[in-house]
């Protein structure tokens, strides 16, 4: 029993990490149908900036807030300098631009920061809680509740606020949205700022557990992207469920079958799900969104 609990804790923790990254994909996708491959770099920037601000002597909490703001500014710059000038280009071209941006950000991080691995202290100490013979770190709870809080905020944003609905309208038909008086340029800028901010929050939360370095974004974005696809691209609930599902499959496979097949099992499940439901578990087909 304690073994199962331990696998469960591991699965939920890792799943929440993936969910946090996956949630970052939703806003930009909802605003423009673009899958932002620089999302992992936002996570990295959040973690790395916090590390360097913290080491410069700023207390952890203000350092984290500053890092989130800085990353949002990078997100806005990415939109203004790379995405907006390519207005009118196809979605595929825009996605390729984000891949280029991710390589650029990784390179800049090597120069501005360094190439070493870093971490900063966990928010509430390192003493694990013991529950039924299994252990869980306080930081895991921060990550899990962080993922839930961001999910809640996004859900509220997209369903209850006018700006959230404007984001969805921009994605559906930019010209029609403009005719309705929506400032689509502003919506795009806002969505990049928010996505970058969410990525940075994810980076701040996970760094005490996963550690960070300039290239940590690639692996995180890959798993986060898989989580978002599994749950349904653009759906906050999908990101949450997809992330937790992947974390759980990994932990249970490693625990009960073999750690050799951990990643294989995950991708078999993703393939199977997408085969039956091409838009992911909670995704709606494109036609429904008109």
């Amino acid at each position: 029993m304690s073994e199962f609990l331990q696998f469960l804790f591991s699965g939920v923790t890792v799943g929440a990490v993936y969910a946090l990254v996956a949630l970052g994909f939703t806003i930009i996708y909802n605003a423009s149908d673009v899958v932002n491959f620089a999302q992992g770099e936002f996570v990295m920037l959040g973690g790395m900036s916090t590390v360097f601000l913290y080491e410069a002597g700023i207390p952890l909490f203000p350092a984290a807030v500053l890092a989130i703001i800085l990353t949002s500014i990078v997100g806005v710059a990415l939109n203004k300098l790379a995405i907006e000038p390519a207005r009118g280009a196809s979605v595929v071209s825009l996605i390729i631009i984000t891949i280029g941006a991710s390589i650029f950000l990784r390179g800049m991080a090597q120069i501005v920061f360094d190439k070493q691995i870093h971490r900063f202290p966990a928010f509430s100490g390192e003493q694990p809680f013991v529950v039924g013979g299994a252990t869980i770190l306080p930081q895991s709870l921060w990550i899990i509740f962080g993922a839930l809080a961001i999910f809640g905020a996004l859900y509220f944003f997209f369903t209850k606020t006018l700006t959230g609905k404007a984001v969805l309208a921009t994605a559906n038909n930019r010209d029609a949205a403009k005719l309705m008086g929506i400032n689509t340029n502003f919506i795009m800028t806002l969505s990049f700022a928010m996505s970058a901010g969410i990525g940075a929050i994810a980076g701040v939360l996970v760094t005490p557990m996963t550690l960070t370095s300039y290239d940590v974004g690639i692996a995180l974005a890959l798993k986060g992207f898989a989580a978002a696809m599994l749950g349904g691209m653009g759906r906050p609930l999908g990101a949450l469920v997809g992330g937790l599902a992947i974390g759980m499959i990994e932990a249970m496979t490693a625990g009960y079958i073999s750690s050799e097949y951990k990643d294989a099992a995950t991708f078999i499940v993703i393939l199977a799900v997408l085969f039956i439901m091409p838009n992911g578990i909670f995704g709606r087909s494109a036609i429904d969104r008109v």
């Binding site: 696998f7 971490r119 996970v206 290239d215 490693a254 951990k262």
Partner: protein, 384 residues
Amino acid sequence: MKLKVHMKTATLALATTALAVLASPVLAEIKIGSTLAQTGPASFLGDPEAKTLRMLVDDLNANGGINGEQIKLIMYDDGADPNKARTFATRMVEDDEVVAVIAGSTTGATMAMIPVFEDAGVPFISLAGAAVIIDPVKKWVFKTPHTDTMACGKIYADMNKRGISKVGIISSSGGFGKSMRAQCMGLADASGIEIVADEVYGPKDADMTPQLTKIGNTAGIQAVIDTGFGQSAAIVARNFSQLQIDVPLYESHGVASKSFIDLAGDAANGVRLPASALLVAEILADDDPQKSVVVSYRDAYEAATGEPVSTFGGHAADAFNMMVAAIERAGPTDSAAIRDEIEKTTGFIGTGGEVNMGPNDHLGLDLSAFRMLEIKDGTWSIFE
């Protein structure tokens, strides 16, 4: 008018080039080539190696070079990409016409370059870990770092001493982790060690508690070996302490840097690992033959770069010092003579240990080159 100006500039440029070409043979130079992973995923290896080489070359040249001739270091950055490494190897041989090479931060890059230098007959000292580089012996290829086989041997020797025989292995699925796992598995029987649990994880995984839970619950387990390095090894140590598994954890020599202790925090305490003397320069006995070598390299490196010393830079320093000694004996132009002299290196005390090369041994280190360390109160201590 404009044309005239252009003409003038062109003539001037031509004249300058001609001067430069004429001038260069006057300065006798010994060209040593190098391509390292200064950036990219193995930059934690290549960066200190490159800085060490630059520092040592500048030092030597400032002090008159080798028998009055200056060394010219020709350096490339292959980013640990074997394809790039091979291209640079060819360029060093054909365009730069180097007399000898110190290169290869990773085993992959090294293996890609070996055929080039074997064909061209250029002595090549590799800075990469795996035993396959020098086993079987290749005529022109040498290396300075300890092999993963030796790391396992040292760990097993320590376990034998302490009566540990049932061991669990958790290994990273990356190249280094895989290779070391294979070596540890192969060496187990001969060392009287029984591997009772065998789990793997991805080098970028965020949590290894499921694997460690399984290992920890294996009946009769007496110790755990982790073959990862960098980020993943720190996470394994943290998870290990989180699960409160009550047996010793042995890490590989790959984690032998101060950053491991910083990243693993309190969880690092009690971790044992084989490492070179460089890390514990401070606590070596004064009559230890390596003491003066490692202390002077460490002080020089830390003064020149402002960064803490790592074993990887030490491997580059050993390679360079052996190379310089060989060139001093063989003269600066004859690659074949330099190769012969490198092979004759004996009694050389480097940061990695005492090197005694021979026609059948292009590494020249034995188990005594490793010190068994234990991390106590956030710092290294000798654990013999």
